[in-house]
Symmetry: C2
Subunit: 414 residues, 2 copies
């Protein structure tokens, strides 16, 4: 059984975290964070599908694919190292080399992340002095993990961390041991993950083979981070990393058995919670929007339909205005791409205590405007669509489009 | 030579127009329009690619594909007949039958258009009394065409009409005759045409075969109406119709000769001007945004890159805020889809009097913030990208994302 516990990246044994105010761009707040494992970790990762891949993405991907173990992740916020040429990679190499020397580990075991305004160069000296500062502050406490999750925020309004615990057979055959898995993420704008989200870091003390770590991550991402959208803009820096140091003492997971299934369930739980919280905390958002599509012909089509609805600017604006202009949901399903029969589908709006059917038999149905307004006033606005085609289903999450989103992004750099 | 002239759908010989206040939804303004040709017209049309096709789209498409000639177009604004079932088609049939009887023409020569809020049913009696009223008011004056272009507006802030004249060889061999081509369109939100725009009507007195009329329309749409976006939402009602009654007395165009080329050029001119004005008048827009992509490998990829940039919420918001956060242009090119090399492309911001290069050699370049702010204060903001891959090019148009867009669409139905 998966048990939710408090904490984030330091919930798992052997992981510590730190953060500092390196003064890269922001004043009066922390803007660098690191995660450190006192023993080497197996690692899996997924990265942006944007053709413009930031240097840290290229750096991390190379390490993840090499099969090296890793021990540290260094992240900065404020200015994104999105450079695609040699200078961007030089900065990565210099940062990893300095961090490696500082901690007495290979540069190839240092992963990097960078988020903020795309463009201006990041001063290396601030990064290296940040790394030195953080070495002194590393701590395995829950507070250290929480502080790190705050240091990587940009326009996020809340930090994002979740953790779970579950039991697996012990390595020595003596009953079970408790395994921990926790993560943090950030992302509020330029969120339309297409492999993974902006920046997400999940740590676990589970003993699990690299191969199955990769497989587990790939199995949960399509239904979690890849099912959220804030504005349809897929970032150049999207990165999701999963580090496992094996310190829980469980019998190592090397096959797709019951333990693997439980591990996947734990990973799904944390990734789901992080992803939904990111959608809910989209730039300027006042509502979380959920769209569930069921009885679709294929899983892939269910995902496409659900994402089309939560990505529609008109649906997003109507939810901000709490206006039940539900024809827009139908319209967004229609231009999603896959075929369906508009004459048979049914569309619902779900409140805490009531469900309204607003489209059926090819027509927008009459509904109580009063009831609809009450449901649209809830913090989470949930729609569903019965496609009447098959058995597949998917859920996507987004947020409303608000004046505040425009204000934030009309003047992002200041 | 193509000469721009004033006017719209009544610029061509034999075409008249009318409008009236039918009281379908709006109060105190005209909300129905019609175009009428005193002789039968060949017709070409393109329609929405949305899987949910409104009944008027199905009605018109059936007529356009049947090879019938047409004489009338009846359009209503306020409530969109977006019904996809029998009731939607019943309303179309009743409207066309009534119009046919009123004018003494077949119901199959009556085309229909409908725009406004998707959903509630349209009262047939208001439509028929509108048709009767308009019969008494039909006029071939320029003013009647202009009034019709105003009656089909929804959230548009300006009416949209353009016309041109050009000379073609006379049918009787006696020198040349003047041919006219003019059009009107409407569309401000739910604009992301994917075959054509929301509602556009072009009339001409040119004598041209149905086959070449269709071919000419297909040749100009991909670079005009299909290259604009306001919000990425492809409407269920998009319709573009081109009617030709042959009254100019030119030698009929039946082959792809010089006359056909001139006709295409005239059609391109009017469609381009209507499309760009629609982008510029996008809901809440304060700026027109233009993205030109050149030296691309293929025309199709050039179009994809250009549309990705003008469709990006983050690019749109930054233009509203006049903030030269130009990394977002690079990001939007990156997630467009086709391959390119970010290390070699060059990106420019073009002002009336000055051009700034803001990305080159894989880096965001330093530029004068003062100059950039001055350029971003211009009404039309123009970007370009040299892909350094080939010889293809394309231009897309959009608008900025503003508080006003959110306000309009948060409360569209009231």
């Amino acid at each position: 059984m998966i048990r939710k516990i408090s904490g984030g990246v330091t919930a798992a044994r052997g992981f510590s975290a730190a953060c500092c105010a390196a003064g890269i761009k922001y004043q009066g707040r922390t803007d660098m964070a690191m995660i450190y494992s006192d023993t080497p970790c197996a690692v899996a990762g997924t990265f942006t599908s944007n053709k413009v891949k930031a240097a840290p993405v290229l750096w991390d991907r190379q390490i993840v694919e090499s099969g090296c173990t890793v021990q540290a992740v260094v992240v900065n916020a404020g200015i994104a190292n999105a450079a695609t040429g040699k200078a961007g990679m030089d900065l990565c190499e210099a940062t990893a080399t300095y961090t490696g020397k500082t901690f007495g580990i290979p540069a190839s075991s240092v992963l990097l992340g960078s988020t903020g305004v795309i463009g201006p160069n990041i001063p290396l000296d601030r990064i290296t002095s940040g790394v030195s500062m953080m070495k002194e502050m590393l701590s395995s406490t829950q507070e250290a993990g929480t502080a790190a999750s705050k240091a990587i925020m940009t326009t996020d309004t809340v930090n994002k961390e979740f953790a779970v615990a579950f039991d697996l057979p012990a390595a020595d055959g003596s009953g079970t041991v408790t395994v921990h898995l926790g993560g943090m993420s950030k992302g509020s704008g330029m969120i339309h993950p297409d492999m993974c989200t902006m920046l997400g870091y999940v740590t676990t003390d589970c003993a699990v083979s690299k191969e199955l770590l990769v497989k587990a991550l790939r199995s949960v991402v399509p239904d979690t981070f890849n099912m959220i959208t804030v504005d349809g803009d897929t970032s150049t820096n999207d990165t999701l990393l999963l580090l496992a140091n094996g310190q829980a003492g469980n019998k190592a997971i090397v096959a797709e058995d019951e333990s693997y299934a439980l591990f996947c369930e734990a990973l799904l739980s944390v990734c789901h919670d992080l992803a939904v919280l990111m959608a809910s905390d989209g730039e300027g958002a006042t509502h979380l929007v959920e769209m569930r599509v069921y009885h679709a012909d294929t899983k892939e089509n269910a995902r496409i339909f659900a994402k089309s609805v939560v990505g529609s600017s008109l649906v997003k604006a109507m939810i901000f205005g709490r206006d039940a202009n539900c024809g827009r949901i139908l319209c967004a399903l229609g231009y999603a791409g896959p075929d369906f029969d508009p004459a048979v589908i049914e569309l619902f709006l779900h409140g805490e205590n009531e469900t309204l059917c607003f489209y059926r038999d090819g027509f927008v149905q009459p509904f109580s405007e009063e009831k609809a307004a009450a449901i649209l006033a809830e913090k989470a606005v949930r729609f569903s669509c019965d496609m009447k085609m098959g058995t597949a289903e998917a859920t996507a999450w987004g947020c409303d489009l608000t004046h505040e989103y425009v204000t934030i992004n009309g003047d992002y750099r200041s």
